[in-house]
């Protein structure tokens, strides 16, 4: 690009190295992407980093394949006589791996072996169902990252969001629609309070948000366990730690008829993605958030209250995670149980990281992980492949996508113009 510009300096610089006290060597968290604006997702796609993403997924699946094969008794048997008849080994490996991954695909996208058309197309909607809370909570985490806060507290915020939404969902009696909105709002407020605690403590006392959110996760876990033992809370008349079902008036309405489970929660996820995009890129508040995230000193000098931003970001992140919890209990699960949040809060961190903390990126990452989740069920049920494989594949993908030079090196891809290899 430098050839095109008429600037007197030959090459645009990196990290503000010319300032008085700046330390050019240690300036940025990441190698300075010289002379390029932070690329948007579309730009990412066009400039070839989609290739990196794709190849990362391929490598992730390959690593998974190795594990699948290595643990498969049939393959292990053939290893015993690998040299006597190697073809057996390869055939067995191929069969085992393709079978597993085809099942994964059938569970995530389209099942051509299903008994009916509805069942064939249902997997795709199941992926969306699984993606919904991941996207919502992931957006919350991403918001924190963009504002320089490491919010590990998604888990607790999801739990509290679910608790509040669920409770309002069966405890109140309200007309259709209104009830749903009130319950959703309850989830949002609950999550916001839980996130806001960490934000307020950080803003007022400087308490490290990593510690506080970790602790709040556990506290939320015990809190829901406690509540689910209280009859006044569960209203279920059962000794089991689970609440009664949320009223139909409060449930998120389905988008498709039975047996599809896709519900309005997914619309919430889409809306939240758009909202977070607008918030970060087009609103004054988001400007403050990003400013604090990139450089709190400069933000303060520009009149932005870092404490206020810290609190607001954590509250908003909590609200989004709370919404994830609400969507879970009002949309798919319909009652509160101790495990209502699963490991959503932690999965959401990976989703946000994979999405590079960008709203659209997080949305797409959520879809991918949702697909893995939905497909994983089928893979496990039909081929007996342990579902933990999915975790391995996912983490390899995130790691590789974060290290494009490694992927390029692995596949001997050319270095794109403008990006110097280090």
């Amino acid at each position: 690009m430098s050839e095109k510009t008429a600037s007197p300096a030959p090459v645009p610089s990196g990290s503000g190295a010319t300032s008085g006290t700046g330390d050019p060597g240690t300036g940025g968290r990441q190698p300075a992407r010289r002379g390029e604006p932070r690329p948007g997702v579309l730009r990412d796609l066009l400039s070839g980093s989609w290739m990196v993403s794709l190849l990362s997924i391929v490598v992730g699946l390959l690593v998974g394949a190795v594990l699948i094969a290595a643990s498969n008794p049939a393959v292990q048997d053939t290893l015993g006589y690998l040299f006597a008849r190697p073809s057996d080994f390869f055939v067995a490996t191929w069969n085992v791996v393709t079978e597993a991954y085809l099942a994964l695909f059938r569970g995530a996208v389209f099942d051509w072996q299903a008994t009916s058309f509805v069942r064939s197309v249902r997997p795709l909607t199941e992926s969306l169902v699984a993606a919904t809370p991941l996207i919502l909570a992931g957006l919350g985490i991403a918001l924190g990252f963009r504002s320089g806060l490491f919010n590990i507290g998604g888990q607790g915020q999801v739990i509290i969001g679910a608790v509040c939404a669920g409770f309002l969902g069966y405890w109140l009696t309200l007309p259709l629609g209104i009830h749903m909105l009130v319950a959703l709002l309850g989830g949002v407020v609950g999550g916001a309070v839980w996130g806001g605690i960490a934000g307020a403590l950080k803003a007022r006392t400087g308490a490290n948000e990593v510690i506080v959110t970790i602790m709040l996760n556990s506290i939320a876990g015990f809190l829901i366990a406690y509540l689910l033992k209280q009859q006044w809370f569960t209203r279920s008349g059962s000794a089991n730690p689970q609440s009664r079902s949320v009223d139909d008036t409060a449930a998120l309405f389905p988008l498709l008829p039975d047996p599809f489970r896709l519900n309005a929660g997914f619309l919430l996820a889409v809306a939240a993605t758009v909202f977070v995009w607008w918030l970060l890129e087009r609103s004054t508040l988001g400007f403050e958030f990003r400013a604090v995230g990139e450089n709190p000193h400069a933000a303060r000098t520009a009149g932005i209250s870092v404490g206020r931003v810290t609190f607001l970001v954590m509250a908003l992140a909590g609200a989004l995670a709370g919404l994830a919890g609400a969507a879970q209990v009002l949309g798919t699960e319909d009652k509160l149980t101790i495990g209502i949040a699963g490991s959503l809060g932690f999965d959401a961190i990976t989703v946000a990281l994979l999405g590079r903390s960008r709203p659209l990126g997080t949305f797409l990452a959520g879809l991918l992980f949702g697909a893995f989740k939905a497909g994983g069920y089928t893979m496990q049920a039909q081929t007996g492949t342990p579902i933990d494989i999915v975790l391995v594949v996912q983490s390899v993908i995130v790691l590789l996508i974060a290290a494009p030079p490694l992927v390029r090196g692995l596949f001997r891809l050319p270095v794109p113009a403008g990006k110097e290899a280090r």
Binding site: G16, G20, G28, R34, E36, T284
Partner: protein, 523 residues
Amino acid sequence: MKLELSGITKRFGSFTANDSIDLVVQPGEIHALLGENGAGKSTLMNVLYGLYAPEEGEILIDGTAQRFSGPGDAVAAGIGMVHQHFMLVPVFTVAESVALGYEPTRGAGMLDLREARRRVQEISARFGFHIDPDAVIEDLPVGAQQRVEIIKALSRDAEVLILDEPTAVLTPQETDELIGIMRQLKERGTSIVFITHKLREVKAIADQITVIRRGRVVGTAVPESTESELAGLMVGREVHLTTDKQASEPGEETFAVEGLTVVGSGENLLLDDVSLSVRRGEVLAVAGVDGNGQSELAEAILGLVEPRTGTIVLDGEDLAHRSVKERLRAGIGFVPEDRSTDGVIGGFSIRENMILDLYDTEPYASGLSLQPATIRAEGEKKVEEFDIRLSSIDHPISTLSGGNQQKVVLARELGRPLRLLVASQPTRGVDVGSIEFVHKRIIAERDSGTPCLIVSTELDEVYNLADRIAVMYKGRLMGIVPPTTPRDVLGLMMAGVPEDEALARVASGEDATEISAAEEDPA
């Protein structure tokens, strides 16, 4: 020891910072390396010190070529370097800092701190430094930190000592002391490479001068050359070292600070009962060595530090307990001293940096919503007006050179109606050409009737801009003097001598500095 650099070329990506540079430093010579910001001086020295590997060229010591794979090799070869940005670990003690990398041990890898302290004391004593080996670096004033750097280099028996812009943070008197030390070293046979862009200093001490511009040697000179000759060589065109300005026409006094006191974390006084006022259409320059409370003064005015006592009155309103935002809205324009940490956000685009403290005001925002089109249009306008060199307003500001970044800050702060301008070190890290421009803009702002408070550690700048000069020392105001006050008097005041006494001492001739003597050399 004779040092030769021949044909050194160093590239950063496709940008050539050093372009086949040749340089010879004779034994016992003080060799000045002159060049404007970004000319490639530090890069060259980092190559010499083994920090950067050059793409081409070689380093010869006493005629034999050397290969340095790291600073360790350079040090072993007898090269010592005091870096422009000090290479000291803030939380270490002096003794630890000096020991690092060459630790005296008591066997089994355990530190012998007693020995380390002894080394520090020995060298301190030899050169008359007063450095406590147990002091923590971050508590030391910059002048002392620099002496620690020198001790570090000397403790390794450097035969060639590189001093990269060592005087940037010193008072004239301290600069004098440093020059004394350099002479002492020279007498012991140490060669010195002395980097600066202060012409006066070069003339005072250098035996030989090499001038670099845009990565190339553009000439050599002798100390006898005039300042404008040297400046011309550096910049490549004729420059005006002083800004033409009309005498000020001060209006009413709209800004005043009364009894401002700021207390640091250790209950030490950072600002001690400071009172001053600025009139409309006047520049009050605050002079002083870095770390004597000027930064706190500027920050307290903007509200970045909370004063314990005192009032800050602008247009009849006390702002002392207002938020930063309210003060900005009251019409304070603020140019922070440290551009990269406080002035701009490196990852933000130039466009966004243009509205960093205006993002929520008309016309850049309406309600909660930013107005991208307006932001862009206004930004483009300012780029034009302030002659900011860039390829796209959408690129991150970190892709700009320091001088252009500073122009963005100025464009932002001066681009709206102001009731007060507070600018700290407005030209730090900016090249000679741009300095001219910045100064002009500040004077223009003054002439439009804005009271201006300029904090600067560069006396040249102070003289250039000030209608009155306030001198600070250890958080106290030593006095406010007219811009006709001699450099030496200011120097003494900056070192804590009250105004009257300083005047008397300079009059009696006992404290005239060499640097100002050099200034008075017929040009």
